[in-house]
């Protein structure tokens, strides 16, 4: 996920164009080697064991290595070794940018150093982010300068980013943005208890169909009942996992059924996070005061 963030940084600094960014991210997608693949390649796990861990990952908020250790397929030491193979994600990005002549090695290296400085990333933080630690990324990069949002919604946003990667799109990029004022489709769900939350995802037709198709594992091409339902069900599943996490941390919450509304105006007290995927952009809306969110 780091590549998406560093890539957007390069884009915002005018060091590469949007087309160049899409091009290198596509290249990176092709060469990315998944944790499980490395484990099989090294003869540490069988493909069916990897499959079992992937299935479990869809139900619980744990990393591949943690589950593999719990199931007795890997030792802590083996996990550490495999992580070190994955940490080099930014090298693929560097390779792609340099191979295509978009940047020189020096330019890349200096931009990376500037980036680390701008976000005050320690070597340790940077390594954590490289190895896929979403919490560190959300804390240090995504919510930088938005301490209030980090405090209220940091764990929710981290889990959302992970569920986007698990269920929808590995190339997800999230950023805090201006508040959304209207939505073609708004799936919302209220979480009850302390802290209560208003949660919603807002999308146009294209992004709704993309999320619905990925989540349903079917190619949905029309905004029909199934597509609308799959869009809502992704939010419902994510919130369910959030409730399980909160319960594990000692806070019991419940939630209302999700609902979908069309062509609505949204106002009041909430924050908006723009979620960019390979096929379109949509928005995540969150409020710690559900009664202060108006949907009309």
């Amino acid at each position: 996920m780091f590549s998406q963030y560093f890539g957007h940084y390069l884009l915002n600094r005018g060091l590469i164009t949007n087309e160049q960014l899409q091009d290198v991210l596509e290249f990176q997608e092709k060469v990315h080697v998944k944790f499980g693949v490395i484990a099989v390649d090294k003869g540490l796990m069988t493909p069916s064991q990897v499959e079992e861990v992937h299935e479990k990952q869809k139900q619980m908020d744990k990393r591949f290595g943690e589950i593999a250790v719990e199931l007795g397929y890997l030792t802590e030491e083996q996990v550490e070794e495999l992580i070190s193979h994955q940490k080099q994600g930014h090298l693929y990005l560097a390779q792609a940018l340099i191979d295509r002549g978009y940047m020189s090695m020096e330019e890349f290296s200096s931009a990376l150093n500037e980036y680390k400085k701008e976000y005050s990333l320690s070597t340790e933080d940077f390594e954590e982010i490289q190895s896929g630690n979403i919490e560190t990324l959300v804390e240090n990069i995504l919510t930088k300068g938005h301490e209030d949002i980090r405090e209220k919604f940091g764990s929710y946003i981290s889990l959302f980013a992970k569920n986007m990667i698990r269920f929808i799109d590995r190339q997800t990029f999230l950023e805090i943005s201006e508040n959304l004022q209207q939505a073609k489709w708004l799936a919302s769900q209220e979480i009850l208890g302390s802290p209560s939350l208003f949660t919603a995802i807002a999308a146009e037709d294209e992004a709704l169909l993309y999320i619905a198709s990925k989540y349903a594992e079917e190619n949905l091409t029309e905004i029909d009942e199934l597509a609308k339902d799959a869009f809502c069900e992704f939010l419902n599943l994510h919130n369910g996992i959030y409730l399980v996490n909160m319960s594990n941390w000692g806070t019991e919450l419940s939630m209302n059924p999700q609902k979908l509304e069309e062509n609505v105006k949204v106002s009041g007290e909430f924050v908006t996070i723009t979620v960019k995927t390979q096929k379109g952009t949509f928005h995540l809306l969150l409020s710690a005061n559900p009664e202060k969110v108006e949907v009309q």
Partner: protein, 123 residues
């Protein structure tokens, strides 16, 4: 073995579809569907299904309430709760009210299969 029937209750059309597809190989005599807790109780009373798959977070009447009523109407029916909210408190509550088992969403076909096989074997 007697012919078995199954009721699938979930407010999500996608989940009902996925469950039905996953249950197809088990040759149930009849499938019934409901999209909320009220309809689930009505169908359970009418058809007395062998097995019910019941979501928890639903409009009209939630799954825990529906579970209590279904077990009162049809004690022989085995009710499997299916939810994304697999917290230990929900699990305990469901078992206390007579749930047969609990499946965390998204459903894994091998988990589902082992629960169905166990339920059918016990008759």
């Amino acid at each position: 073995m007697d012919k078995k029937t199954v009721l699938i209750c979930d407010d999500s059309l996608l989940m009902r579809k996925k469950l039905r597809e996953a249950l197809n190989p088990f040759n149930f005599e009849a499938f019934y569907e409901a999209a909320n807790g009220v309809a689930a109780v009505e169908q359970a009373e009418k058809y007395k299904p062998s097995l019910v798959f019941l979501d928890i977070v639903m409009p009209e009447k939630d799954g825990i309430e529906a579970l209590k009523e279904i077990k009162a109407i049809s004690p022989e029916t085995k009710v499997v709760m299916v939810s994304s909210v697999g917290t230990s408190s929900k699990l305990k509550e469901a078992l206390k009210h007579g749930a047969y088992d609990f499946i965390q969403k998204p459903i894994q076909s091998d988990t589902l299969a082992s629960i169905v096989e166990k339920a059918l074997k016990e008759g």
